[in-house]
Amino acid sequence: MTDLPDNVVITRLDALVNWCRKNSLWPMPFATACCGIELMATGASRHDIARFGAEVFRFSPRQCDLMIVAGRVVMKMMPVLQRIWLQMHEPKWCISMGACASTGGVFDTYAVVQGIDRFIPVDVYVPGCPPRPEQLLQAIIDLQEKIQREGTASGREAFRRRQPPRALVEDPRNPRLVVAGPPLFASSGDEAASDRPAGSETSAT
């Protein structure tokens, strides 16, 4: 190792890829209520989400990897939210911002979904009504730690969640979407468990 040139660092590829990913999160602002105002404030100059590399808000899910659900989601909006989530590319993450998105908040009524995590995966929850921009920034910092810890360059962890491997089929609810279908190979539960390396995280929501 003594002949390693200057300015050369050796690291794991996964760590490098995760470092790139966590410092260039592109948020999809799903802002439905007053939390959206705080989300905008987070993006504005005083709080400046650009310090964390996440300033590129895109309104197309195809270009995003971080969904920020800011505000209450009603049951009529939930299929829209799910569709946008499915349109985002892996690797992707989700922040549930505020009391309403996380639990329904004070809106315990027939129309309001009591926490989006009942219907889509959530990585980080932000408490508050609405949360301060600092809280959202803390959530992004926490998410960055999670990304650095968990991701792999090849997306093995995303594949591993999908035990056993599945065929891609049309979504029965929406023929224009392609989703994971039935298992490709018949296998018992024990085999599927033994495929996982010891100690790997498989409880991704």
Binding site: M75, Q82, K92, Y110, A158, R161, V179, A180
Partner: protein
């Protein structure tokens, strides 16, 4: 608030209307059978030509209420800002009123909202569909006998997990 002339004209033409005043607001309670005639008269002969709102009140569990639904029409005068409230009552089963979309095109969505939330049918409405709630919703949620937290509609959504993505 309505001008004395308006109230006088209404009294002469429709003696069965019960006109009352509360804090400067005038309202006339009329039988459901003549509500369309009353509104047409107010629009065409009195000048209250603006439909401001159509809404509804459910008097279920209300003390001393004789009827279940009170449908409220608020009409206004576009020049004098005069206002008048016309109220009528309908009952279960199948509460129905004649539509006023032939008088005001703008009543279309207002009546759809009343249908959506209270289940009052408007006979002759050109397109009486739900306007706010999903099309497959089964109930009329602003009725007092509908539970606040619903009948499971907010939970009856397919779940998207990571391995679907």
């Amino acid at each position: 608030m309505a001008s004395p002339e308006t109230l006088q004209k209404l009294k002469e033409r429709f003696p069965e209307a019960e006109i009352s005043e509360f804090r400067g607001q005038h309202r006339a309670v009329v039988p459901a059978g003549i509500v369309h005639d009353v509104l047409k008269f107010l629009k065409e002969e009195v000048g209250l030509a603006l439909i401001i709102d159509i809404t509804c009140v459910d008097y279920l569990y209300y003390p001393n209420a004789r009827d279940r639904f009170g449908v409220v029409y608020i009409v206004g005068h576009p020049e004098t800002a005069e206002r008048m409230i016309i109220k009528t009552f309908v009952n279960d089963p199948a509460p129905t009123l004649p539509t006023v979309t032939d008088l005001w095109e703008g009543a279309n969505w207002l009546e759809r909202e009343v249908w959506d939330m209270f289940g009052i049918r408007f006979e002759g409405h050109p397109d009486l569909r739900r306007i706010l709630l999903p099309e497959d919703f089964q109930d009329h949620p602003l009725r007092k006998d509908y539970p606040l937290q619903g009948r499971g509609e907010r939970h009856n959504i397919p779940v998207v997990t990571r391995d679907l993505g």
